[in-house]
């Protein structure tokens, strides 16, 4: 298993290099201009000077290798320095600088991580918590009214876009009932019970909107996987052993059904770090998703490139984790 993991990690290096280059080319070659968003009153000569100072006019390959060097060498050094306090990064080390804010992209990402993890992460967990029992009961009572209702709701959750449910939630719960705020406060710090309640109130709507969407997806997986296993002979064996129905379903069927579901869940974890562009926008959460979309809109190549590259790393990593998890969970699979 260890050699397998190491081999996969080594293989990931050329993959990631290739991905980073493709992302760079796509971002670079698409028509985007960091000065396009400026008011028409700013004259063309000034725009040209701004572009020059950002280094936009350098050759593409120079820009790419510059970025790559900063990404794989300078930024990790800064990260280590930040974590440990060791003075490993040379004083003059430059970092990846965003065109929009003129500040290090990594700082922006770190700043946005908390709200993204709070909202998207919790919604993922909530989604899983809702989805698993629904999937299990739907499969166990296939074609019952519960199953039909679950199918209907998950179809709804899957097909109704979050910008619709989000705005609907805001109109009902923020505007008409006034229960929850419609604007997320990223500066809020949880220090005690009361501030925790405030935090709970402000995340509940985005979490439910995203959670519903996640739950729809996962509950379908869970149901299908349960159905596959419920008709297996070993379930009959378990019943013949005289086990209670609870043990049969929850221990025998569920544990086997969870194998594919767990890997699907692991594969979707990078999306949690990626944020949820639309939901973040609707609730003004301003997490990673919003960072990315604003960067794309304003032609902020270094930010787009860095955020996409981190996604790519996470996706490759969680693919590996999913594969390893499969091996851990399913004794029939061994990587040697």
């Amino acid at each position: 298993m260890l050699t397998y993991t190491i081999r996969r990690l080594l293989l990931a290096i050329p993959t990631l290099l290739f991905i980073s280059f493709i992302i760079f080319l796509i971002v670079k070659l698409s028509p985007s201009d960091p000065t396009a968003g400026l008011p028409l009153t700013i004259p063309p000569e000034v725009r040209e000077q701004i572009r020059e100072s950002l280094g936009v006019n350098q050759p593409v390959f120079v820009q790419y290798f510059r970025w790559l060097q900063l990404m794989v060498w300078n930024e990790p050094l800064h990260l280590i320095e930040g974590w440990t306090g060791w003075n490993v990064a040379p004083e003059s080390t430059t970092r990846i600088i965003s065109y929009q804010t003129r500040s290090p992209v990594m700082d922006l990402i770190m700043q946005r991580m908390p709200q993204t993890l709070w909202v998207v992460g919790i919604s993922y967990i909530v989604g899983i918590i809702i989805a698993l029992p629904i999937g299990i009961i739907s499969a166990y009572r296939q074609y019952s009214w519960f199953d039909q209702l679950g199918t209907f709701i998950s179809m709804l959750g899957f097909s109704v876009p979050t910008f619709f449910t989000g705005v609907l939630f805001i109109v009902i719960f923020a505007v008409n009932l006034g229960w929850f705020p419609s604007v997320y406060d990223t500066t809020h710090v949880v220090t005690d019970w009361d501030s925790f309640i405030v935090q709970l109130k402000q995340i509940i709507m985005p979490v439910m909107v995203l959670g519903l969407f996640n739950a729809s997806q996962i509950s379908r997986f869970m149901r299908a996987s349960m159905l596959d296993n419920l008709n297996q002979d070993y379930v009959r064996t378990a019943r013949a052993k005289g086990l209670t129905e609870k043990v049969v379903v929850l221990v025998h069927v569920l544990r086997n059904s969870l194998i594919p579901v767990v890997t699907v869940i692991a594969l979707n974890v990078p999306a949690v770090f990626g944020g949820a562009i639309i939901t973040e926008q609707v609730f003004k959460v301003n997490g990673i998703g919003q960072l990315l979309i604003i960067a794309i809109q304003s032609g902020d190549v270094p930010t787009v490139q860095t955020v996409s590259f981190i996604f790519a790393v996470l996706i490759v990593l969680f693919n590996l984790i999913a594969d390893v998890l499969y091996g851990v969970l399913d004794p029939r699979i061994r990587y040697d």
Binding site: P31, A36, L40, T41, I50, E52, V183, D185, N286
Partner: protein, 568 residues
């Protein structure tokens, strides 16, 4: 505008605080502002966007500002320098500002002339990429005569010298804080760019780029009773409708900016009674440009160039006049702009001094009159297809604009009205990033103008129209030899007009400048190469509990935030 009115304006700005005697600094508590486009930095020299400039205006200030009427008021300066008071030299090449007494930075150190000199050096450094460099155009040097006196020398006579250090776009930054950040090193000073030390009413306590800014009252602010608000949250994100909702419906925020949404929806939100929609009009005008050159594709590379020859019929003002008369501007406002627009007949609608009244006939739609005009000029429908002909050529135009719901509504209405006077229009819309992108290789930019009619909005910053009016000189016509750069989009060319532009460049007297600007405006309008439609304003909303708002489109909307307070 003479020195007297300027001084009066200054006095008025300082006196305008009815409850100032009772209220004290911080007594109004917390203020929530939402800008749905979030600021990415607080250094306006590194980003020219409105959102950055306006958020920075809470902290950074300049010598003079424009109030809600467009009047210049002294801010950090003791008074406004003029030729009369000797602050501007007779030959118009020098202006001298005197810093008012007792102004300190928020860290307690005094503001000196050296800070202004440094600001000029900072923005004009060749490697800095300063977004506001145009405010220092023509500035030869900035000299600190003494600690309190700043002298700006121009390399040519500058009849309107109030550009550098005037308004929110070119504020003074602290030399001590930015000393190490000149030129290419500007982006390395993240702490300074995200938390500039200023002289303004607030200081930054937390800045999160593209997300939120927290401010608190500046304890060293020069007016001991202000600002009335102790803390400010400046939140970004979402969209215009959500920002409007958070002020007008849920009441979570006190002030929301740039609410360009469907006017009926905005009116419904306002009807809830939580807040008020406010507007301020600057110089933005949505207009039609009628191509004076021939865009016929058969001309190949000579399309829409002076060399390609004049337009077959749009150079006749009669046709342009009929097209203008056929348009019901009030209906266009009602459908697309609501409180954010007013019908206008001038390409230069403000400030008041420069606004002509000679063309106001266009405010009333007159289809019958337009038809009569065309009949009289001999443009009649000879082949019975409902479209008039000029010298055998049907009056059929290609009408293009950027992709935008309001613009497409406008296009459809105008097409309908034109069809009623026998002019056929083919509609086309182009993605804004391409249309305004200025790529010389693209055939679809507004500069290339490969169409007969195009529509967009333009304006100028500040209050002086000299540079704006110079846009329509003959030499500004875009063409292949200038990489299609040039601001005379409709390819208008008149010697008399160019002469007026030259005259304005050497005229210092304000009244005289006003006359010249009005004359130039009328010349363009009566050539019917530009048909103005809507005078567009900024639309914001504030909670009913918020007092003291004097929204301005000439400066930052938040220019007088120190006077904002919570109603008792």
């Amino acid at each position: 505008m003479n020195s007297k009115t300027l001084l009066l304006g200054a006095a008025a700005a300082f006196m305008l605080s009815p409850v100032a005697a009772m209220a004290e600094r911080g007594s109004s508590g917390h203020l929530n502002i939402i800008y749905w486009q979030a600021p990415s930095t607080l250094n306006p020299y590194l980003s020219g966007g409105t959102k950055e400039v306006e958020s920075a205006s809470l902290v950074l200030e300049s010598f003079a500002r424009f109030d809600d009427t467009g009047t210049m008021v002294p801010w950090l300066a003791a008074d406004i320098p003029t030729v009369e008071n000797g602050g501007v030299s007779e030959d118009l090449t020098q202006i001298t500002w005197t810093i008012a007494d007792g102004i300190t930075w928020s860290d307690g150190t005094p503001l000196t002339a050296a800070d202004a000199v440094f600001t000029w050096e900072y923005c004009t450094h060749p490697e800095g990429g300063c977004a506001q460099a145009s405010y220092f155009d023509g500035v030869d040097s900035v000299v600190a005569v003494d600690d309190m006196t700043v002298q700006i020398n121009f390399n040519a006579p500058k009849p309107f010298p109030y550009t550098a250090f005037v308004g929110s776009e070119s504020p003074i930054i602290q030399a001590a804080q930015f000393a190490e950040c000149l030129g290419a090193r500007a982006p390395e000073c993240t702490d300074a760019n995200f938390g500039p030390i200023g002289t303004g009413p607030f200081v930054v306590t937390d800045f999160r780029p593209n997300d939120v800014i927290e401010f608190e009252a500046n304890q060293n602010f020069r007016y001991p009773d202000r600002p009335y608000f102790a803390t400010v949250t400046f939140k970004g994100g979402g969209d215009a409708a959500a920002a409007a909702r958070s002020v007008l419906e849920t009441g979570e925020f006190d002030y929301a900016w740039n609410l360009q949404i469907d006017p009926t929806i905005l009116a419904q939100m306002e009807a809830q009674g939580n807040g008020t929609v406010v507007t301020a009009f600057g110089t933005s005008v949505e207009r039609l440009h009628l191509n004076q050159t021939n865009p016929d594709p058969a001309l190949g590379d000579l399309r829409s160039t002076v060399e390609g020859g004049p337009h077959p019929f749009l150079t006749d003002p009669i046709i342009g006049q009929a097209m203008s008369m056929a348009i019901d501007r009030a209906l266009l406002v009602e459908v697309g702009y609501g409180a954010g627009g007013q019908p206008t007949c001038n390409v230069l609608p403000a400030p008041e001094l420069y606004a002509s009244t000679a063309n106001d006939d266009c405010l009333v739609q007159d289809i019958a009159g337009a038809n009569a005009l065309l009949d009289e000029a001999g443009y009649v429908d000879t082949d019975g297809d409902g479209i008039r002909e000029a010298n055998g050529m049907p009056l059929s135009v290609l009408y293009q604009t950027s992709t935008n719901a309001v613009r497409q509504d406008t296009q459809a209405l105008v097409k309908q009205w034109w069809s009623e006077i026998g002019i056929d229009a083919e509609l086309r819309n182009i993605d804004a990033s391409v249309f305004f992108g200025g790529d010389p290789a693209s055939p679809d930019t507004f500069q290339k103008f490969y169409a007969d009619v195009e529509m967009y909005t333009n304006n100028f910053a500040g209050v002086d129209p000299e540079a704006y009016m110079a846009n329509w000189r003959c030499s500004e016509i875009p063409g292949p030899d200038t990489q299609w750069q040039g601001s005379n989009i409709q390819r208008f060319c008149m010697e008399e007009y160019d002469a007026l532009v030259d005259e304005m460049a050497t005229t210092a007297d304000l009244q005289e400048r006003g006359r010249l600007a009005r004359e130039m405006n009328d010349m363009i309008i009566q050539s019917y190469s530009i048909i103005p439609l809507i005078h567009r304003g900024g639309v914001s909303a504030h909670a009913n509990s918020l007092e003291g708002i004097r929204m301005s489109d000439w400066d930052s909307e938040l220019w007088n935030i120190m006077d904002w307070r919570r109603a008792e």
